[in-house]
C-alpha cells in the first residue's frame, strides 16, 4: 500500500467506528485527537480493525505511532507492504 492508500485505509476505519465524525479536510500532520473526538477506546478499535482487516498487530506500547495520519502512514508502511486496500465505507 502507498502512503495515500494507508491514509485512506485509516480514514475508512475511523468512518466505521466513528460514523458521525467529519473526515474531509483532516490535516495529516496534526494529531487526530485534536481534530476529531477519539478517545483511548476508539484507538483500541482502530488497532483491532487493522488486525481484523489486514492482519496487522500493533503492540500497545506503539499506539502513539498512530497519533497522526502521517504517523500511521510511516509506521504502517512496512506492515502493510504488499497488502491490498479494503474499503468498508466506500
Amino acid at each position: 500500500m502507498t502512503s495515500e492508500e494507508i491514509i485512506t485505509a485509516i480514514k475508512d476505519i475511523i468512518a466505521t467506528i466513528a460514523p458521525d465524525e467529519e473526515l474531509v479536510g483532516l490535516d495529516t500532520a496534526v494529531p487526530l485527537r485534536d481534530q476529531i473526538e477519539l478517545d483511548s477506546m476508539d484507538f483500541l478499535d482502530i488497532v483491532m480493525e487493522l488486525r481484523k482487516r489486514y492482519g496487522v498487530q500493533v503492540p500497545e506500547a506503539e499506539y502513539g505511532e498512530l497519533n497522526t495520519l502521517d504517523g500511521c502512514a510511516r509506521y504502517l508502511a512496512p506492515k502493510l507492504e504488499g497488502k491490498e486496500l479494503k474499503l468498508v465505507n466506500a
Binding site: 466505521t16 478517545d39 477506546m41 488486525r51 498487530q57 500493533v58 500497545e60
Partner: protein, 470 residues
C-alpha cells in the same frame, strides 16, 4: 477439564453487561458464548408477561440522556463502542422529575438549569456551595478514580452546609445506584450525579425489550452464541487459573477467559466453597433490596394530575437509605410514571410503578400463604403513602397490578438476598483471585442500563481484547 478451550471468552449472564461485552468481542471475531440460566435475557433489567401485558422488571429510566450529536459522554461512547446509532434507541425524554422531602421539593429535568433555579428558590443560601460542588464534579474523572474509599456524603457536605439539601441530592443517587447504606462511594456518586442530574432520564420506546432485542440481534449477527436456560453450576479452576465452566446439566465448556456478571460473592460461590470462604467477607454482601409494584390504570396518570416522570420522596424527619427492620420502609421511595416520557409510541395504558426499600431476610422467612398475604399488605401500605404524592389512589383506577419482592429477584437473577445493586464494595478493576476470571456489571461498579453496558464494554476491552494483541 482436559479439552482445549472451545471459546475465547465465556460470559456468564445475558444482562446488559454480558450482552455489551459479547458484542464487543464478537465484533473482533472472538469465539464468544453467553450463558444465561433464565429463559429470557436482560438479567436485572429483563421483562416479563402477565395477563397479556409485557412489563419491564426494573426499568424506570435510562440515565445519561444527552442530545443527539453530543460527544464524549458515557452514552455517546457506549453507542460508538457498540456501533449503534443514537436513533436506534428511540429515546423519549422525561417531562420532569422531583425530589420531595417534608416541606420542600426540588424539580429537575434534562435541562440542568432547572435544578439550578430550584436550588436558588428553595435553598438560596446554598447556591454558592452548590456551584462549587458542580465545579468539583465537572473536574473529577470518575472513570479513573484516584481514591475509591471516599464517601459522597462527606464530599457533598464539604460544599453544602445544609444537611437537608445534602440528603435531597443524595436521595435520587442512592435510590438509583447505591449498594451502600445511607451513602455511596464518591466516585460513584459523581457518576450518578452526572448521569441523573446533569444529563438526565429517557426511555427507549417500548421499554427495555426493544433495546434488548437490538443487542441480542447485533450479537448474533456478529456470530456470537447465546444459550438460554443454561445455568452455570461451577466455575472450574486450577492453580489460580480459570479453565471454564460446568453447566447445571453437567456439560463442561473450556475458555481462555471468563467474564462473570453473576456478582462478586455469587461468582466466588460458583468457584467453590473454599474460594467463597477464603475471599468473600460477610460485610461485603449487599444488604439492600427493594419491593417493586406496578399498577396498570384505566387512564393516564397525567389526566389525574400527576405530571412528573420520576418522583423520589422522603416523608421521614431523617432520610434513611437502609435495610428496614420490617418487610419494607414506606416512608421513602420512588414513584415512576413511564407515560410521562415523550414517545413516538405512547403506552396504551396508564402505569405507575413504586419502589420501596425492603428487608430480604424478613421476606425469606415467610412461607406459603403468609408470603402472598404480606405482599398484599405491603402494597396497601405503600399505596397509602404514594397516594399523598400522586394525588390519587392507584387502586381507584387499577385494572391490573403486580408486585415483586427480594425473593422474586433472587429467584430470577441468582442475586444473593435479591441485592439488585450488588456488593457494598465494588471491584472497579474487575479482578478476582482467579487470573482470567473478571467481573462485569453491577459488582464491577457501574450501575443502571448505561452503566452496566459500559462495564461490559470496558472489561471486555481491557481483559479480552488488549491481551490478544500481544
Amino acid at each position: 477439564m482436559s479439552s482445549p478451550p472451545t471459546f475465547d471468552t465465556i460470559i456468564i449472564g445475558a444482562g446488559m453487561s454480558g450482552l455489551a461485552a459479547g458484542i464487543r468481542l464478537a465484533q473482533f471475531d472472538q469465539r464468544v458464548l453467553i450463558l444465561e440460566k433464565h429463559y429470557l435475557w436482560g438479567g436485572l433489567n429483563s421483562f416479563f408477561k402477565r395477563a397479556g401485558r409485557r412489563f419491564d422488571v426494573g426499568l424506570h429510566a435510562l440515565t445519561n440522556w444527552v442530545p443527539k450529536g453530543t460527544r464524549g459522554t458515557p452514552l455517546s461512547k457506549l453507542l460508538r463502542q457498540l456501533r449503534l446509532g443514537y436513533d436506534d434507541l428511540k429515546l423519549g425524554q422525561q417531562s420532569f422529575s422531583e425530589v420531595r422531602f417534608p416541606g420542600v421539593k426540588l424539580a429537575f429535568s434534562n435541562d440542568f438549569e432547572l435544578l439550578r433555579s430550584e436550588i436558588a428558590r428553595a435553598f438560596p443560601d446554598q447556591v454558592e456551595g452548590f456551584e462549587s460542588l458542580v465545579r468539583r464534579i465537572d473536574a473529577y474523572d470518575a472513570f479513573r478514580p484516584s481514591d475509591t474509599s471516599l464517601s459522597a456524603r462527606s464530599q457533598l457536605s464539604q460544599s453544602i452546609s445544609d444537611p437537608q439539601l445534602v440528603d435531597m441530592l443524595l436521595c435520587p443517587l442512592l435510590f438509583y445506584g447505591s449498594a451502600r447504606e445511607d451513602d455511596v462511594d464518591w466516585y460513584q456518586g459523581v457518576i450518578l450525579f452526572k448521569s441523573i442530574l446533569q444529563e438526565g432520564f429517557a426511555r427507549p420506546a417500548g421499554g427495555i425489550k426493544p433495546l434488548l432485542d437490538l443487542l441480542v440481534a447485533r450479537y448474533r449477527d456478529l456470530g456470537g452464541e447465546l444459550r438460554m436456560r443454561s445455568g452455570v453450576k461451577e466455575i472450574v479452576h486450577e492453580d489460580g487459573r480459570c479453565l471454564g465452566v460446568r453447566l447445571e446439566d453437567g456439560q463442561e465448556l473450556a475458555a481462555q477467559k471468563v467474564l462473570s456478571s453473576a456478582g462478586w460473592a455469587e461468582s466466588m460461590r460458583l468457584a467453590g466453597d473454599d474460594m467463597y470462604a477464603r475471599h468473600v467477607r460477610p460485610e461485603e454482601l449487599g444488604t439492600l433490596s427493594f419491593v417493586e409494584s406496578i399498577h396498570v390504570l384505566d387512564r393516564e396518570p397525567a389526566d389525574l394530575g400527576f405530571g412528573a416522570t420520576i418522583q423520589f420522596f422522603n416523608d421521614a424527619p431523617e432520610f434513611r437509605y437502609r435495610r428496614p427492620a420490617g418487610l419494607v420502609d414506606t416512608q421513602s421511595g420512588v414513584l415512576c410514571c413511564p407515560n410521562n416520557y415523550a414517545s413516538e409510541e405512547p403506552l396504551r395504558e396508564g402505569i405507575i410503578r413504586t419502589t420501596s426499600l425492603a428487608n430480604p431476610v424478613a421476606w425469606r422467612e415467610l412461607v406459603g400463604d403468609a408470603y402472598e398475604a404480606a405482599k398484599e399488605e405491603v402494597q396497601t401500605s405503600i399505596l397509602a403513602r404514594a397516594q399523598e404524592h400522586l394525588g390519587f389512589h392507584p387502586r381507584d383506577y387499577s385494572v391490573f397490578s403486580d408486585c415483586f419482592t427480594p425473593r422474586t429477584v433472587e429467584r430470577f437473577t441468582g442475586r444473593i438476598d435479591g441485592a439488585v445493586y450488588g456488593a457494598s464494595t465494588k471491584r472497579f478493576d474487575g479482578k478476582t483471585p482467579l487470573q482470567n476470571l473478571h467481573l462485569i456489571g453491577t459488582d464491577q461498579g457501574l450501575l443502571g442500563v448505561t452503566g452496566a453496558m459500559l462495564s461490559g464494554v470496558s472489561m471486555a476491552n481491557r481483559y479480552c481484547l488488549k491481551p490478544s494483541l500481544r
